[in-house]
């Protein structure tokens, strides 16, 4: 397979001009003042994208994702370096995709599709499909200035996918559509991929990224921080940009039994931060009971990046009763081969009375660890299924 998009030593410098009128310009020239400021939106970017691959660009706002998309689309020119590509390209950049507000939906479809390189005859052929896909037949003869933003995106996406481009560029626009339409778009994108077309899109949704992409590029301030398989790039992204939640730890309780600490250990009892799915993980709580407490319950909860509960248990659930505690001690939770997907996990620890009436001590997100495998999964669990496909047709 060969490259469909080739980016070589690409840099883009923007100039912020502070004098918008001829007068100011002249006055500033005379004064010898130069009020222009420059900054690099992209710096020395190089990569090849092969036919049929889907590339996703992620990064914080202002990292140069949209600029890169626009340069690939030929809308702005790079300062240094170049982009080469082949085949028809369609782009969905920002909202509206170049609709004229005073024209009707129908008229805009014609203008838009011819901008994307279709002849009027081809548009006639696709027109009904475009409208049907967008589901806005009722409004097609209304001026688009009366459209809602969702209707805009529906029509724009519909045109873009029906012109059968070899390359499709999508900026974060689909988020505007409603859930069913987004689903529909995603399905369409999948067909697109199956047909061997090439996609580049900007997304902030890590789920979408993991689900759809063959590779990803993480950009920050115009520099490539990571480029590779989605799972690697996503973990790099999480590392750098998702706030590390442990800073907001909060705790409460009577402290009759005080939690002193939590150690995350591997099966050999060595303290560790990074695990692979299938590794043994030992969560070791150290406590100090200042009085003799009868029948306490120790519990832990494992939370992921976005604070969703991945797993929680306590001694009560497990049918273990602790007769009494007094003084310092250890409560050890051992998880042989932990089957969870890549990500950063936080551990909340609590000790309370069996009836739950008295909270002795609870500390949110006391400890944390990471799981890194390089494999891609959706959801919480790292399972290793075996898959058999029995093709009845060919087996006879």
């Amino acid at each position: 397979m060969s490259a469909v998009i080739q980016v070589k030593d690409l840099s883009k410098q923007f100039t912020l001009r502070h004098d918008a009128s001829l007068k100011e310009r002249v006055v500033n020239r005379i004064r010898g003042a130069n009020t222009d400021e420059t900054f690099w939106a992209l710096r020395n970017l190089s990569f090849d994208l092969e036919q049929g691959k889907t590339l996703s660009l992620i990064g914080p706002n202002g990292s140069g994702k949209s600029t890169l998309l626009k340069i690939i689309g030929g809308i702005i020119e790079p300062t240094e370096g170049w982009v080469a590509r082949r085949g028809r390209l369609a782009a969905l950049l920002e909202l509206g995709a170049g609709f004229h507000p005073d024209l009707t939906g129908r008229e805009n479809v014609y203008v838009n599709a011819s901008i994307l390189g279709l002849s009027n005859r081809q548009i006639d052929k696709y027109f009904d499909d475009i409208i049907e896909f967008s589901e806005i037949e009722k409004f097609i003869d209304n001026q688009v200035k009366f459209y809602s933003s969702g209707m805009y995106v529906r029509l724009a996406f519909s045109v873009a996918v029906h012109v059968e481009p070899e390359i499709l560029l999508i900026d974060e626009v689909l988020a505007v559509g409603d859930e069913p339409f987004q689903q529909k778009c995603m399905e369409r994108i999948k067909t697109f991929q199956d047909e061997g077309r090439t996609l580049v899109f900007v997304t902030h949704s890590l789920d979408i990224l993991r689900q759809f992409c063959d590779e990803a590029i993480l950009l920050d301030q115009g520099n490539v921080l990571a480029h590779g398989p989605p799972s690697e790039v996503v973990s790099e992204f999480r590392e750098r940009f998702l706030p590390h939640l442990e800073e907001e730890e909060d705790e409460f309780g009577t402290r009759e039994v005080e939690i002193k600490g939590l150690r995350v250990l591997d099966g050999d009892g060595v303290e560790r931060d990074k695990f692979s799915p299938g590794d043994d993980v030992v969560l070791e709580i150290t406590y100090d009971a200042h009085e003799t407490i009868a029948d306490p319950v120790f519990g832990i909860a494992i939370l992921n990046q976005v604070d969703a509960l991945v797993y929680g248990t306590n001694t009560d659930f497990q049918g273990i009763s602790v007769a009494r505690v007094h003084g310092e001690g250890i409560a050890r939770f051992t998880f042989p081969s932990i089957p969870i997907v890549d990500g950063r996990y936080y551990v909340t620890v609590a000790v309370h009375s069996r009836d739950g009436e008295v909270q002795y001590h609870r500390i949110e997100r006391l400890g944390q660890f990471r799981v890194v495998s390089g494999a891609e999964h959706a959801g919480f669990l790292h399972l290793e299924p075996t898959i058999d496909i029995v093709d009845r047709e060919s087996s006879g």
Binding site: G73, G74, A84, R85, G98, D194
Partner: protein, 312 residues
């Protein structure tokens, strides 16, 4: 990935070769590739021209009639001022005037539209790639359409007045028309680029067009100006005739008004007194100059267009 065989387009990617996006072309060399690029997008040009026409009269009940109403109203005003107030005494003045007026209207409305062609389509420019020249050319397309309507009215007027305009003189019209279209297209490229960076330009152009209008023999006979200016200085009279619109307008007048012997009240000839060869010669110079202008305008345009998306 095991691509399902798709009937037409996806597989086509393999056949076409890798092409550089926005390949920089040298200033002197890039004209031909640009023309080829515009040609590939010719259907877009017709669609955008149609769009311009539709948008212009969207939500107006008289629609296209407005493009006729304007020159007709101007015709009434100027006829009133010149024939009745100033008593210039030009026979068949409305025919003389209307000829110059529609020619000027084509030129002026093209330039007015051109200053707005890029700025007014920021939405398109920021979101999709296509040769930006198409926007300027679509302005030319839509003003030509209006011109065609006005031209029909002129023919109507000639017929209604039972004016004898038939003859060899009419052959000047198509040649003058070619010169006009080429000239206004060249200027339009320059004007549409100029307004992107500094919006002051559109105000300058407005005033410039007004000045230019009066410096072109449209509402008065050419000899009024030439002899008037000649009284001040010969250089001025000569400079007056350097205006590329001068041979264009006078040639149209020669074609429609026809009567070389017609004189105004004070004996000044109405039409520009020159041989047909001279008319043709002047138009030839304008055509050559306009071709140069189109080339220059396109090159300036191409140099600037890379920055359109960020300037808007």
């Amino acid at each position: 990935m095991n691509a399902a065989p798709s009937p037409d387009n996806a597989t086509a990617a393999r056949d076409t070769s890798l092409m550089r996006v926005n390949e920089p072309t040298r200033f002197w060399r890039g004209f031909v590739p640009s023309v080829r690029d515009v040609w590939r997008y010719r259907e877009l040009l017709t669609n955008l021209t149609r769009l311009q026409l539709k948008v212009k009269y969207k939500n107006s009940s008289l629609g296209f009639l407005w493009s006729l109403a304007r020159p007709i109203l101007l015709l009434i005003v100027y006829s009133l001022v010149f024939s009745t107030f100033l008593r210039a005494g030009i026979p068949y003045f409305p025919i003389y005037l209307f000829t110059g007026l529609i020619v000027w209207d084509l030129f002026a409305s093209t330039q007015g539209g051109a200053t707005n062609a890029i700025v007014g389509n920021a939405g398109l420019i920021k979101k999709v790639y296509f040769p930006r020249e198409i926007l300027t050319l679509s302005v030319v397309g839509s003003t030509l359409f209006h011109f065609a309507l006005q031209f029909l009215v002129l023919v109507g007027v000639l017929v209604v007045f039972r004016y004898d305009f038939l003859g060899w003189n009419l052959l000047l019209a198509p040649i003058a028309f070619v010169a006009l279209v080429l000239f206004m297209t060249g200027i339009a490229f320059l004007f549409s680029v100029a307004n992107v960076r500094y919006r002051d330009v559109q105000h300058i152009i407005e005033v410039l067009l007004l000045f230019w209008f009066w410096m072109t023999p449209i509402v008065y006979p050419a000899d009024f100006a030439i002899s008037g200016l000649g009284g001040v200085s010969r250089v001025l009279a000569w400079a007056y005739q350097l205006n590329p619109m001068f041979p264009i307008v006078t040639a149209f007048q020669r074609a429609a008004y026809k009567d070389m012997d017609a004189v105004a009240a004070d004996g000044t000839p109405v039409l520009y007194q020159a041989s047909v060869q001279r008319y043709l010669g002047l138009l030839g110079i304008v055509i050559a100059f306009s071709l140069f202008l189109i080339w220059l305008g396109q090159r300036v345009f191409a140099k600037a267009e890379g920055n359109f998306a960020q300037e808007l």
